[in-house]
């Protein structure tokens, strides 16, 4: 009905303005703008560098610790039956455990699993500052060590010797005993990889700087970033978990297509 198009459209516009949901939509748009503006404002104020050494940050961390961690780790981080002592674990350990969402622990289990991060970056830094102020321990790494610009081949060799038995040669992770597992390393930030090596979270052994030197750790990170950024040369990697997924794929698709072809070959043409 081409001759009706214009009046209908005009009516539609007017009807839209008088629609019962119009006011709700208007309020929603308004709220969105105010919220957006507020968020932009608050991030711009909060992005100021957290000074790890300042007494104020440490005090802040102490309060956060007392409210969120002390139930298991004790008021002075001296540990209890439910959680280990944190004296001497260093800022790196706190940054890893809290920064990946593993702490605070959701429940006791075979191991603390990664979940949505519970604290903001400033709160994590404050917690780390307080724990680091208790006793010396590994600091949060920074700078060149995390840039992923090291020697990929050396990193790959070190990874195969020290890490691949648990984390899989492609960093895809693997099973351990009694429900524990080594997590996949794809997409893990360079800082968290470094901190995990230095602190040995949960059942992972510690790889201190005498064992794998800081520049070698940088190479390991480089290798993992290389894996993240380059597709598998062998085609679809199916999760890189080897015979399980590859075997299953062949069973289903390889044998499936052979069965389908056999049925087709022997069926009578119509």
């Amino acid at each position: 009905m081409p001759e009706n198009r214009t009046p209908t459209a005009a009516r539609g516009r007017k009807a839209g303005r008088r629609h019962p949901l119009a006011s709700i939509a208007l309020i929603a748009i308004g709220l969105l703008f105010t919220g957006g503006a507020y968020a932009a404002f608050s991030t711009s104020t909060a992005s100021a560098e957290t000074d790890m050494a300042s007494q104020q940050t440490i005090e802040e961390g102490k309060k956060l610790f007392a409210a969120n961690c002390a139930t298991c780790h004790g008021m002075g981080a001296e540990g209890s039956e439910d959680g280990p002592s944190l004296i001497g674990v260093g800022a790196a350990s706190v940054d890893f455990q809290v920064g990946t969402g593993r702490m605070p622990l959701q429940m006791q289990g075979p191991q603390a699993e990664q979940k949505p991060v519970q604290f903001t970056d400033e709160q994590t830094a404050a917690l780390a500052a307080w724990v680091a102020s208790l006793a010396p321990g590994p600091a949060i790494p920074e700078g060149e060590l995390l840039d992923g610009e090291g020697d990929t081949a050396n990193g790959a060799e070190l990874f195969r010797i020290n890490c691949a038995m648990c984390h899989n040669v492609a960093g895809a992770g693997g099973a351990l005993t009694e429900g524990k597992f080594a997590p996949s390393l794809s997409g893990v930030s360079a800082k968290h990889i470094y901190e995990a090596m230095v602190t040995g979270p949960q059942n992972m052994p510690v790889f201190n700087d005498m064992n794998i030197k800081p520049e070698d750790k940088r190479d390991v990170i480089t290798y993992l970033k290389y894996l993240d950024n380059n597709p598998s040369p062998g085609g679809i990697d199916l999760g890189s978990i080897g015979p399980v997924s590859e075997g299953l794929f062949l069973w289903i698709f390889g044998l499936g297509s052979i069965v389908a072809l056999t049925v087709w070959i022997t069926a009578k043409s119509n």
């Binding site: 038995m165 059942n203 052994p205 790889f207 201190n208 005498m210 380059n230 040369p233 009578k268 043409s269």
Partner: protein
């Protein structure tokens, strides 16, 4: 055609029914007198391509299109080999090269196969036929003639009569494979006794423990609580040859536990140093590297068959198919603070073998 064995006569379903082998020899077959009759073939159904000339032309078109596609696939595989060369510096080029050559070759083969099957199913004659199975045994005359031929050959060659020639021939045939046995023996270890080779490793009194792969010696103070070091004997990296063979036997995992956690047998009290223990990394089941160390539970897990060893208790087997604990390397500290071996392993490392004591 399919009916060669029926003397050129086409058998229908009804014929097949009539030709049931009722005269089969009673010694080799159970003859059932009241067997249910052969229902024969279902009625013949004409295909679309038999009745409809358009369908026939369409099928013909599909078949030759598939064959042409196969040609395209083959040509594409050649083109892909040239267009996507493997660049040694870029592993991604291998992926493209394999992918496109593979696609071309799969298209070539699949289209050829599918075209041939489609041709056979839709266009070739779909007339059904039966081949009657005939007895395998030859006729009496054939069999008698065969025996006669063998006897004649024996007579003429003198095989049965000239026993000296016959026996020397058999002897020559037996001797002929013997050089192969000697040649293949040459592939094995030569002037060394394999049993002694398996019993000993590179470790000896005073050999420093070094980090794999750099070969840097390890100080006891470097090994912090909860650490796991992958260890080779110092000097392994300088070996001219046999490096891998030596590493395969001498690889060691070094761990530091809280000394309070270690339960040590009295005769092994001096084998650890302040909670630092060293164990062979070679599984006693089939020799996989056991290195999945859990620093809280102190369990060592073998990735191949899930054997578990308890590091606190001299790597005793707590789960899985391994039968013996991992051999422990007795360690000490030298005057400069480096970790050294007190001796070689006191038992052979790795899986069992016949001469193992």
């Amino acid at each position: 055609m399919a009916n060669d064995d029926n003397g050129g006569k086409d058998l229908t379903a009804a014929d097949a029914h009539g030709a049931r082998p009722s005269e089969a020899s009673a010694g080799t077959a159970v003859v059932t007198r009241d067997a249910i009759g052969n229902p024969g073939f279902p009625p013949h159904r004409a295909r679309m391509t038999d009745s409809d000339p358009t369908a026939e032309r369409k099928a013909e078109r599909s078949v030759y299109t598939l064959f042409y596609l196969s040609v395209v696939g083959s040509v594409w595989a050649i083109a892909a080999y040239i267009i996507f060369p493997i660049d040694a510096a870029d592993p991604g080029s291998v992926r493209l090269n394999n992918l496109f050559i593979g696609l071309g070759l799969s298209l070539a083969l699949l289209a050829l196969g599918i075209g041939a099957v489609h041709w056979g199913k839709a266009l070739m004659s779909d007339h059904e036929g039966i081949d009657i199975r005939h007895p395998v045994r030859g006729t009496e005359e054939t069999r008698a003639r065969a025996v006669e031929i063998f006897q004649e050959a024996d007579q003429e060659s003198g095989f049965g009569r000239r026993t000296l020639i016959r026996n020397s021939l058999i002897g020559a045939l037996i001797a002929f494979p013997l050089p192969a046995v000697v040649l293949f023996r040459g592939l094995g270890p030569q002037d060394e006794d394999p049993v002694a080779l398996l019993e000993h490793t590179m470790w000896k009194k005073g050999t420093r423990l070094a980090i794999d792969p750099s070969g840097r010696p390890i100080k006891a103070s470097d090994v912090t609580l909860g650490s796991a070091f992958h260890v080779i004997p110092e000097g392994l990296q300088d070996l001219e040859h046999g490096k891998l063979e030596e590493k395969a036997k001498a690889a060691v995992l070094l761990m530091r536990l809280d000394p309070a956690d270690l339960i040590e047998a009295p005769d092994r009290k001096g084998w650890s140093y302040d909670g630092i223990v060293a164990y062979s990394k070679i599984c006693t089941h089939v020799g996989c590297p056991v290195a999945l160390y859990e620093q809280q539970t102190h369990h060592l897990l073998c990735p191949c068959h899930q054997s578990q060893f308890d590091v606190t208790n001299h790597c005793e087997v707590i789960f899985g198919p391994a039968k013996r604990p991992l051999p422990q390397l007795p360690i000490a500290v030298d005057s400069e603070g480096y970790l050294i071996a007190q001796s070689d392993f006191t038992e052979p490392v790795g899986p069992s073998y016949w001469e193992r004591h």
